[in-house]
């Protein structure tokens, strides 16, 4: 029966000791330990969220980069294409122009040749005419060097007129 009868002395000392122990440990042990533990847990949690955020941002940046690169590549392609088109156009235009120029020149040359030819022909004609006149003159001079011949001619001519 003694065993299950609580003694007042031990109850008193246990209560007193426990309360003092609770007070001291709360102030000097549990508060700093629990505070430190929770602070560390918070900082770990923060660090993890931060890392996650950074990772996401990285992903974002990467996809952005990829997008920009893609865009740049497309732009380069279009630019190249445009340049090629421009080049082709220019070449074509130049060719066209050259052809036109050439044609023009040929045309001009032809005209010039024609003109020259005409001039030459005219000149030749004139010279031939002059020559003919000269010859005729000479022939006439020679033919009509005598009186009889002059008369004969006149006769002829008069005869022609009559015939007409």
């Amino acid at each position: 029966m003694d065993l299950v009868t609580p003694g007042i002395g031990l109850v008193f000392w246990t209560a007193l000791t426990f309360l003092i122990l609770l007070f001291i440990l709360r102030k000097f042990a549990w508060k700093p330990i629990l505070g430190a533990v929770s602070e560390r847990e918070d900082s770990i949690k923060d660090a993890l969220t931060e890392a996650e955020k950074a990772r996401e941002e990285m992903q974002h940046l990467k996809s952005d980069n990829e997008r920009i690169l893609k865009e740049a590549r497309a732009e380069r392609d279009t630019m190249l294409k445009e340049a090629r088109e421009i080049k082709d156009n220019m070449i074509n235009e130049a060719k066209e122009e050259a052809r036109e120029q050439a044609n023009k020149m040929i045309e001009q040359a032809k005209t010039t040749i024609e003109n020259e030819k005409l001039a030459a022909i005219t000149d030749l004609k004139n010279q031939v005419a002059d020559l003919s006149i000269d010859i005729a003159e000479k022939v006439v001079k020679k033919e009509l060097s005598t009186k009889e011949k002059q008369l004969e001619l006149v006769e002829d001519m008069l005869g022609d007129i009559k015939l007409n």
Binding site: V4, V11, L21, W30, K31, L34, A36, S43
Partner: protein, 362 residues
Amino acid sequence: MQINIFRIFLLGLLLTVNLNGFAITGEENPTSEDEKFDPKEMIMHHVKDAHGFHLWDWKGHAVSLPLPIILLTDNGITTFMSSAFHHDDNGKVVVEKNGEKFVKYHEKIYQLNEGATAVEFDEEHHPVNASKPLNFSITRNVFMMWVSVAVLLLIFVSAARRYKKSENYVPKGIASFVEPLVVFVRDEIAKPMIGEHKYKRYMPYLLTIFFFIWINNIFGLIPIVNGANLSGNIAFTMTLAIFTFIITTISGNKNYWKHIFWMPGVPVPMKIFLMPIEIIGMFTKPISLMIRLFANITAGHIIILALMSLIFIFKTVAVAPVSVAFSLFITIIEIVVTAIQAYIFTILSALYFGMATEEEHH
């Protein structure tokens, strides 16, 4: 450095398991041949509290550490050292102090009535001419309790200081040993039983009670201190259970009291029927805490001592190997029990706090 001290402490704990047998046998050595060995008396002597700290016997004389005896008599407080009784426990030595006469009989202090010079007993060995003054003595258990407090403070305050010193609150040294235990109490006991939002208020109490019970359970297993059986003493467990009861009752919210006096969700006759049951339940919870810890720890001590007593009952050394082996086995189980009982007391306290603060949910 601190880790090493702790390792030595743990090693010592393990070694003392083996010494258990020696401590008890040493105790019983002076028993003379004709005097019959009484295992019950020996066991009860070990399990119960005592004035003075009996360490060992040396050449027929008991060597003990005297402890102060503090008595509250009609004339006020009377104090003297337990050594004044000269190891007498049969009421033969009368100590006179301030005109009051005291005797010690079976670890109880009696004050002799006026005029009496020696204590007289009736047939049932109850003193007839003496009264029992209120006894606030620093007994063996109180002394060991203070030793355990000193150890607790040494461990935990120095562990807490480690956090201030080290950067980033990384635990070092003894803090790395203490922290998992503290986190265990927080994450496995307080949080699931009380809930995320309210557990913080109860943490200091739960931590203190857990480590206080645990370390005293462990101290009870150390034979060199003659098995000071503090956590197996009903006064100790009752005090702690009363603390749990007081905290539960104080923190009880509207929902808690409603569940006791007017159980929601059941018909009215049932409400009336449940009310007395719930009111009794309020008290049976701490009472079960008190009895569970007391009975578990005391039973462990009794088993170990009973196994060792077999040697003296059979009066042969041949039993010794069996006794030692069995008591070693039980002691190892008891080491586990020290932690389990501390854990159970704490988790049930937390559960009661959780019930008291639980919010109404639909």
